[in-house]
């Protein structure tokens, strides 16, 4: 098997916040009837957490699950386990109408860290970051591209986008985080 590589191999930028490409992250796009008992238990078994309420994310370390839409979840697992998790879901939900796809290598993940992390995102997304709380996921746009973001730790925000836009996203976050650009709104 070929060696898996993340989009930007851990690229970093330091300014008013630290921007870092987060490396390999296992991500499974799941679609199905999220209210179905079998779906609930199958997801919980692999994600270690129950399906969150709308716009919620439940994460413990590298494993967890995020609510993406009324019929879609993003399941996060260690990168090397993603295929096995898809197989597990497929076995548990055999005969059920659902989709579980390993999209790890179709996405790029970034973390923006520091006291100005909210400000960096606030410059790029039409989202009121002052009211954005831990345990919430927000799908939105960062400048020209779609992204999903959540608070991964105090002063740290995780951003997920399509891998094809990884360099654009890194440049964007770095520009918004450049030294001397703090606005001081949050």
């Amino acid at each position: 098997m070929s060696e898996a590589r993340s989009a930007l191999a851990g690229a970093r930028f330091a300014g008013i916040a630290h921007v870092e490409e987060a490396g390999l992250v296992g991500m499974i796009s799941f679609r199905g009837d999220l209210g179905h008992a079998k779906v609930k238990s199958a997801v919980k078994a692999v994600a270690g957490a129950a399906i969150p309420k709308p716009r919620g994310v439940a994460l413990a370390g590298a494993t967890g699950v995020a609510w993406m839409s009324p019929d879609e979840l993003l399941i996060l697992v260690p990168h090397a386990e993603a295929d096995a998790v898809v197989a597990k879901l497929s076995t548990a939900l055999k005969g059920q109408h659902f989709m579980a796809e390993n999209v790890s290598d179709a996405r790029a993940v970034f973390t923006v860290t520091g006291p100005h992390a909210r400000e960096v995102i606030g410059k790029l997304a039409p989202v009121d970051m002052s009211r954005f709380a831990e345990g919430e996921i927000r799908r939105t746009r960062l400048a020209q591209v779609a992204a999903a973001l959540w608070i991964s730790a105090p002063d740290s925000i995780t951003v997920v986008c399509f891998r094809s836009g990884a360099q654009y996203m890194f440049d964007l976050l770095s520009a918004a985080a450049q030294e001397g650009s703090a606005v001081g709104v949050y």
Binding site: S69, P70, E72, R139, T140, R141
Partner: protein, 109 residues
């Protein structure tokens, strides 16, 4: 700038997070229909000053299509509602009646 609330994920976002999808509640006339019906379906659209019903998609969010009732003159959004309907729900009609007495749009009033 419109502020729309997606009825599927509950996000209240500004217009650039969404994509406009044209007029709402079109009835499709396809193969076998009369030329006049087909032409109307393809080309004839409302162009109101005031109450308008439209389709929108939460393109940079949950991805779902929904409906919105808004005013083309003031850009006020009266409300948003499910895509799975042929006409605006009563609660939307009630809001329209309260805010724009005597409103009508195609067959609805």
């Amino acid at each position: 700038m419109l502020i729309l609330e997606c009825p599927y994920c509950g996000v209240k976002g500004e217009e650039t997070e969404f994509h406009a999808g044209g007029e709402a509640h079109l009835k499709r006339f396809g193969p076998g229909s009369s030329d006049a019906d087909f032409e109307t379906y393809l080309f004839m659209r409302e162009n109101p000053k005031g109450v308008h019903l439209e389709r929108w998609r939460h393109a940079n969010g949950c991805g779902k299509w929904f409906h919105a009732a808004r005013c083309t003159m003031t850009l006020e959004v009266f409300g948003t509602y499910s895509a799975q309907t042929y006409e605006p729900p009563q609660e939307i009609k009630d809001i329209l009646t309260a805010k724009r007495p005597g409103w009508s749009w195609r067959n609805f009033k």
